[in-house]
């Protein structure tokens, strides 16, 4: 596990962009961290680093946003998903099988199920202001 401290939203985005260079197609990235922690900012960098051209937005209402590009990314929010059937219905496994990079916010909700897919873990903690502690496990940046 590696720990990073970012001091601004831009630095959080940049860390996401760096991670894009280290992940392979079909990788699952499980995010934990409360509201406003910066998960979406990190994902913005991740998508940009993967060469996605669609704009990144929070998937809270849509459950999943799909960003097309050189290396496509599926961006999930599991806040309202609580069963495996719902996860399947949302196409979660289809995106993994397709080889998209799958980033999951609120992964706490289905932690045991996601564990089976050996996810890369990203834990984001607010240290006040724009400062964040970001712990990354499962990949070397």
């Amino acid at each position: 596990m590696t720990e990073y401290i970012t001091h601004s939203r831009a630095e959080t985005v940049e860390l996401g962009r760096r991670m894009a260079q280290a992940v392979s197609p079909g990788a699952l990235i499980a995010f934990t961290g409360g509201l406003g922690a910066g998960k979406t900012a990190f994902c913005e960098g991740l998508a940009a680093g993967l060469g996605c051209t669609d704009p990144v937005s929070s998937p809270t209402f849509a459950i999943v946003n799909y960003y097309r590009g050189a290396r496509p990314m599926a961006h999930f929010d599991l806040y309202r998903i609580s069963t495996e059937a719902d996860l399947c219905a949302a196409g979660f496994y289809d995106y993994l099988d397709q080889g998209a990079v799958v980033a999951v916010e609120w992964s706490e909700n289905l932690a045991q199920l996601l564990e089976l897919e050996h996810p890369i873990r990203v834990e984001i903690q607010s240290l006040g202001g724009e400062e964040r502690r970001i712990r990354i496990e499962g990949v070397e940046l």
Partner: protein, 236 residues
Amino acid sequence: MKILAVDTAGKTAGVALMEDERLLYECCLNNGLPHSQTLLPLIDQCLNLCGLHCADIDLYGVNAGPGSFTGLRIGLAAVKGLALPRKTPCAPVSTLEALAAAHVGEGTVVCALDARRAQVYCAAFDLATHDRLMEDDARAVKDLAEFVKKSKKPLFFVGDGAALCYNEYGSLDGVLPTAPALALPRAAAVAMVARKMALAGQAVLPEALMPDYHRLSQAERERAAKLAAQKAGGQE
């Protein structure tokens, strides 16, 4: 009877057009492009080259499951849309039955789709009669051992889960290899099963066309039933 059949249950996209038992057109696209981009152009090309319009189609056949959730929905939604204006009958075909329908001979065909975590959606059929030997369901690859070992006839696997099954059972006596390129899903087979279903009165109106995901395996359903029974027992 003109039948337009669509397969988007797995990684390949297929479209076929049959007039009764005669195949007029068939394609199988296996280049990894998403079905959402390829299916409608494939259907369009099929109808154009055959000189037909949707108004000429008497029956739509489509794989209703099991398969990829996204893929099934793309196929079903497309067919539903094409069939709705004229209320053209639709046959919701079992993906596994359609896989089997493409093969003939003497023996047993086991159709298997990868369901992740060492599970497959599978079913088995007699090759000569196409009688069903195993219901469509999600099962652990290992749980097929008894069926494979007890099978008295030669047996082979098709579908995108076939490789998983060959890893487990490929070296057993009586298990035959298949050529992967010839074991891909065939839209013509979907059309054949659709025709059979329509003749048996099993076609439905487009609005009744629904996916059948078969997500829960029998083991999972039994566990859920047991837990529910325990819960009910606890409340008494």
